[in-house]
């Protein structure tokens, strides 16, 4: 594999960090300048990240070492196809989110905007760091930064619920961080290296299977907390008190995706399909994920708060990604990885819509949405597109990932998981379609005549774009960002070696 040494990954990480400090320095006084930093950083970051895509697609790897502590212990960036995929998702969606955030916070006249944008930029910076990290240590470093950078966003409202949510969030993620720290230290002790390797590097560690299983469990616990894997999902719905762009960021792009990304890294790049198959943990993993999928789907049905419903949907979808990876077949992996991208675009659309509803119509509950579609057709249209996509209905991008996932379940000869995917799709339909139906066709409860009153442009444009993109990806999976090529490249790497 060709290795290209370049400092571009570092700049990709740094650009938003620098922007964060510029934002802090600019402060509340000069809003326009402050927000222009955000936009500029977002665009710059995207350009930097995107400029590396062709290199990756040629099968090369970009590397940059920050510092070396010890032999085998270093802070290093290495971009492979899988990391690139996540990097592109995050950086592209940041542009959308920045625009949207500006509209959102100005629309609500939020307090502490500087802190908000600062934390936001830091979040993105660490997400890109996670995406590009070459080894578990680097990963952990950025993972912890992400944890902390998200905290101010979660508690942004400073209400009692917000603070409690923040506490819960910290309790979960920091515990996970500790467990991860231990597990990673253990791995370093056993193997002397922490570098991700397609197909895993733990196979030749020589540890007994009990130790390996324990380590695997710890790592999955550590990353699974952020990914909202079922017994550890509790913080996610509570964190819904955060402002909507934050929720969008949390759920679609940065935080949970980082968790899922970590899980996949562990499954595919640390332990590797072969080893997991030998240990037999893949099946347990798959069962946990299926459990999450089904239970989260049912729980989502019971939620009236729109964002909470979306949160459970997120849990559901993330578990699907993990299940895809856990099935360890080529198609399922492809499905899982591509679903990361697809889900990101669709879910962010949904959250943007929820935010737009909150800003414009001050409506937070599903039951209040009757007839809102006529008032805000663009928003609700986008919502409908994304919801349909998530349910896996063909023209949308969700279909493709679900298709591969189902295929994978068949390949693995595990019919039960096929049923899981099916059930999940049904549940998706069950909790999204009533919203769409009600908003467009049902009369509002109060007799106010709905009139066309769309959310601010800053908010509507991003959400329309993301919705459109999710259609485009459904039709041409390899459009623009080349997600599909990257996915297949990643899967090739994994299976080719392992």
């Amino acid at each position: 594999m060709d290795v290209l040494y370049s400092s571009r990954p570092l700049w990709a990480v740094l650009v938003s960090m620098i922007a964060a400090f510029l934002i802090l320095a600019t402060g509340e006084k000069n809003r326009n300048i402050r927000e222009s930093w955000t936009i500029m950083a977002a665009v710059a970051k995207f350009l930097i990240v995107f400029s590396m895509v062709p290199v990756i697609l040629q099968g090369k790897v970009i590397e940059y070492t920050i510092v070396t502590f010890y032999p085998g212990l270093l802070l290093q960036f290495r971009i492979d196809a899988f990391g690139m995929l996540f990097g592109v998702i995050a950086s592209s969606l940041w542009i959308a989110t920045s625009f949207y955030s500006i509209g959102y916070v100005r629309g609500l006249n939020e307090h502490a905007q500087t802190r908000y944008f600062f934390a936001f930029a830091m979040c993105l910076s660490s997400t890109i760091g996670i995406a590009f990290s070459a080894n578990l240590l680097t990963f952990l470093v950025f993972y912890e930064i992400l944890t902390i950078a998200t905290y101010p966003l979660v508690i942004h409202k400073e209400s009692k619920e917000g603070i409690m949510g923040g506490r819960k969030y910290l309790a979960y993620t920091l515990t996970a961080g500790c467990v991860l720290l231990f597990a990673i230290a253990m791995i370093y002790h056993m193997t002397g290296t922490l570098d991700f390797k397609a197909g895993g590097f733990m196979a030749d560690s020589g540890g007994s299977s009990a130790v390996l299983i324990m380590l695997f469990a710890m790592l999955i616990f550590g990353f699974g907390v952020k990914a909202g894997l079922m017994p550890m999902h509790e913080w996610l719905p509570t964190a819904m008190v955060a402002p909507t762009p934050v929720s969008a960021l949390l759920h679609a792009v940065a935080v949970v995706k980082a968790g899922v990304f970590g899980c996949l890294r562990v499954i595919l790049f640390v332990f590797g399909p072969g080893l997991l198959h030998d240990l037999g943990v893949w099946l347990i993993m798959a069962y946990i994920a299926s459990f999450t999928i089904v239970v989260a789907g049912f729980l989502a049905l019971g939620q009236d708060h729109l964002k909470r419903r979306l949160a459970f949907s997120t849990i559901n979808n993330l578990a699907m990604i993990i299940l895809g990876a856990a099935l360890l077949t080529k198609s399922s992996m492809t499905g899982g990885i591509i679903h990361m991208a697809n889900h990101a675009f669709m879910k962010i659309t949904l959250f943007f819509c929820a935010g737009a509803l909150h800003v414009k119509a001050h409506k937070d509950y599903v039951s209040q949405l009757d007839g809102i579609g006529r008032q805000m057709p663009l928003t609700m249209g986008a919502f409908a597109i994304a919801a349909i996509g998530l349910s896996g209905i063909p023209p949308m991008s969700g279909f493709i990932s679900k298709w591969f996932l189902c295929l994978g379940a068949l390949e693995a000869n595990q019919i039960i998981f096929l049923f899981v995917f099916m059930t999940s799709a049904m549940l998706d339909v069950a909790f999204f379609f009533p919203i769409i139906y009600n908003s467009f066709f049902k009369k509002p409860l109060d007799d106010v005549t709905p009139h066309f009153d769309e959310a601010p442009m800053f908010m509507v444009i991003p959400l329309v774009i993301t919705a459109l993109l999710s259609i485009v990806f459904g039709i041409v999976p390899d459009a623009f960002f080349r997600f599909f090529s990257m996915t297949s490249l990643a899967v090739q790497n994994i299976l080719g070696v392992g």
Binding site: N109, E110, V141, F142, E158, Y188, H189
Partner: protein, 500 residues
């Protein structure tokens, strides 16, 4: 010239401290600039020594020109040069910081205060630099005596705390002295390097065992390790803020340094590991220190008192690193000496600044502090994150090496204690951060309320002389984290005994 820097590093602050009464007699105002100016010299010379050591390896300096086993020598190797830099740097920062605090709390005692301040620094540096076990005792006493006096002028309850410290500290120092006596009776030498040569054939002697036991207990008392820590919380908490900012980071660390020095330089590492089971005991004590310190800290509502218990726990960290007795653990311990010194200094400086500005240390009274003192609180937050172990702040890296060390030693419980402690730290510090940054909890959040409240809060930042050290320390926390790899590869890995 670099050789003479070694002499300067003690002589300059020493003579300067002797001149403080003269200067103070002439003009009281000049004490502060004098102290600050003087403390720059040890910093420069210790940096140059570190540089020399890094380029040419360790060297020694013969005092009074006599050859080592007969005369006294300074030994400057990587470890001592490294700790010297830490000590001189932090003392300079605290000296800068002390201006307002002293003006405010001890206006009439400026002259003796600064004299003892310099003497304390001198004592600490003398402990670090010397290569003679008895000379170490003398400087231990200089630092201890000045420390007693400085603590005793603190707030309510300080004299009693100081008295307890005197009693327990004297027991510790006397045990150390007794250890020297036992070593001396068995070997006839007092020089560390010389002892290291003579001792190995004597390892099965009971006298050496007893000497080792007394050293360990004495230093554990000085370091405030768990069952011997009882003097520590009261003493550090009641001391004036400039004093506790100096002693909390340095005293226990220097004692830990001496422990490392004795266990791995004077005694061969294999003696400390194989012949005496002391490390197992120490390790468990450290675990208890971590747990107990954490729990007690959770129970405090006073910020400074909370930090004091954190100090107890942090001592446990270093001792765990020492007692796993392998390369990684010891690297972690030495790194943590530095990191913890910087972090603790920063936290105590911030506490002092808060006390100076708001007059309170109660955690729940700190609301809106982020508006009043944004830089101070930012520094506090960074350091707090570092304490929790969030990368890239420095606390993460020492914790990382410590955990690696415990794993390598197969001590799972110790690793678990370290992990638990970072969780406890998270609870501790986020509690403070919540109080400082967020509004007091209200049942519902009013949308329009936000703007109006923070209009009223005036920025009331700590004075410049306080702010500068705080900010430098906070920056240091991050920079030390980022460059910890560099520090380890260029200094610490040579400081760890080669036999690991």
């Amino acid at each position: 010239m670099a050789e003479q820097f070694a002499a300067l590093i003690i002589v300059v602050p020493l003579i300067a401290s002797l001149f403080v009464p003269v200067i103070g007699w002439w003009k009281k105002r000049l004490c502060y600039p004098w102290v600050v100016a003087v403390l720059i010299i040890p910093l420069i010379s210790s940096l140059s020594i570190l540089n020399t050591v890094m380029t040419t390896g360790k060297f020694s300096y013969r005092l009074a020109g006599w050859a080592p086993p007969w005369g006294i020598e300074y030994v400057l190797d990587h470890l001592s040069a490294f700790v010297l830099v830490i000590v001189s740097f932090i003392s300079l920062m605290v000296a800068i910081y002390s201006k307002k605090s002293v003006q405010d709390n001890l206006p009439e005692k400026t002259v003796p205060f600064y004299t003892l301040f310099l003497l304390l620094v001198t004592g600490l540096m003398g402990i670090v630099i010397t290569g003679d076990v008895f000379n170490l005792f003398v400087f231990l006493e200089i630092s201890a005596l000045s420390c007693y006096a400085l603590i005793a002028i603190g707030e309510e309850g300080a004299p009693m705390a100081a008295f307890n410290y005197i009693i327990i500290g004297t027991i510790g120092a006397c045990f150390y002295l007794l250890g020297i006596g036992y070593l001396y009776i068995a070997t006839g030498s007092l020089n560390m390097a010389d002892l290291a040569n003579i001792l190995p054939p004597l390892y099965d002697s009971k006298v050496i065992l007893v000497a080792f036991a007394f050293f360990t207990v004495g230093l554990a008392v000085k370091a405030g390790l768990f069952p011997m820590h009882t003097w520590l919380p009261d003493a550090y908490c009641t001391a004036p803020s400039a004093v506790s900012a100096l002693i909390a980071p340095l005293m226990t660390k220097v004692a830990a340094y001496v422990m490392i020095r004795l266990m791995f330089t004077v005694f061969q590492p294999h003696f400390s590991i194989e012949i005496v089971p002391v490390f197992t005991i120490l390790g468990w004590l450290a675990v208890m220190a971590i747990v107990w310190g954490g729990i007690k800290a959770l129970a405090q509502t006073d910020l400074k008192r909370m930090l004091v218990y954190v100090v107890v726990a942090e001592v446990g960290y270093i001792v765990i690193g020492v007692s796993v007795a392998n390369r990684l653990g010891l690297t972690g311990a030495i790194l943590h000496i530095m990191n913890d010194a910087v972090m603790m200094a920063c936290l105590f400086l911030v506490t002092g600044a808060i006390l100076y500005k708001t007059g309170t240390r109660e955690i729940h009274q700190l609301s809106h502090l982020n508006k009043k003192m944004p830089f101070t609180m930012a520094a506090f937050t960074i350091t707090a994150l570092s304490m929790v172990g969030i990368p890239p702040a420095c606390g993460f890296f020492s914790k990382w090496y410590l955990i690696l060390g415990t794993i390598e030693a197969g001590q799972w419980f110790w690793a678990a204690a370290l992990l638990c402690s970072s969780l406890i730290n998270a609870v501790l510090f986020f509690r403070v951060i919540e109080c400082a940054y967020l509004k007091p909890m209200e049942p519902a959040y009013a949308h329009d309320g936000g703007e109006t409240i923070h209009e009223e809060i005036q920025r009331d930042e700590a004075p410049f002389t306080m702010l500068v050290p705080i900010v430098i320390m906070a920056a240091g926390v991050i920079l030390l984290g980022i460059f910890s790899g560099k520090i380890i590869s260029s200094v610490i890995q040579f400081a760890v005994p080669a036999s690991f």
